[in-house]
Symmetry: C2
């Protein structure tokens, strides 16, 4: 369990892998993002994605799952205070195997709350070819060690 | 179906409503964000959320669902090129009924791709008391009318 004092700029955390299949791409999209390029192979072929593509929100959710299971284990859990950036440079297709790499960009104690601080973390989600499919820079609330 | 030429700064788009229940909060979290405050009422009571709270990624996914069903219907679908901001100012609890309001902040034709442009949209997700539970500012790819 990591406290603010255990986290330093430049630290890297890695995750395991998760495979995304066509059925889950479609069922996630049916519930949350029902657009043809996330639901139907032939409609997707003629879209800007060039083939069935996961909703970006599906990729984001899978990224969270990978992050929760990764080496990055702050005391109190992974609690986002907001994001500076979120982008999907490349689509996720059925069969892609995703993993995340998180790098600490900034660590700062809170001025108003002496028992916690903020960690700015860049989490890159990579496919099996090492290509980034999502980049997000988030600010996480992390507790300080009680002294 | 809206083309870039139909969209102007200040336009507002509204959605219907979706109710979030405890079972879906827990099942979403089990798959994507398995942390105690998203899974278990008693663990959540002692967390910073003060009670069972939806994963922010669940709120984001529900927001997308509301947006896809809203008055905002760009030709070609809702395709995000990235986000400038995403934050969750307040937790979503079981029984909350969410809706979205989207406001156009910026409209600009693409320099490199004459057949499309970018629309910067602020989408605020509100609960039944009119309180913002999510704010995101996204840049969407929207086609131009072929002339």
């Amino acid at each position: 369990m990591l406290y603010l004092e255990d986290i330093t700029v430049g630290q890297l955390f890695r995750s395991g892998r998760l495979r995304i299949d066509a059925d889950r791409i479609k069922s996630f999209a049916t519930e949350f993002d029902p657009q043809p390029f996330h639901l139907d192979e032939s409609a997707a072929r003629n879209s800007i994605f060039g083939g069935l593509a996961a909703s970006g929100w599906h990729t984001a959710a899978v990224t969270m799952r990978l992050l929760v299971g990764s080496e990055f284990k702050p005391a109190g859990g992974i609690i986002g205070a907001g994001f500076d950036e979120l982008r999907w440079p490349r689509p996720v297709h059925p069969g892609d195997e995703l993993r995340v790499e998180s790098e600490v960009l900034e660590v700062r104690p809170s001025k108003s709350r002496p028992n916690q601080g903020l960690v700015k973390l860049r989490t890159t989600t990579l496919n099996q070819d090492g290509e980034a499919v999502q980049v997000f820079i988030g600010n996480l609330v992390v507790p300080r060690r009680l002294s």
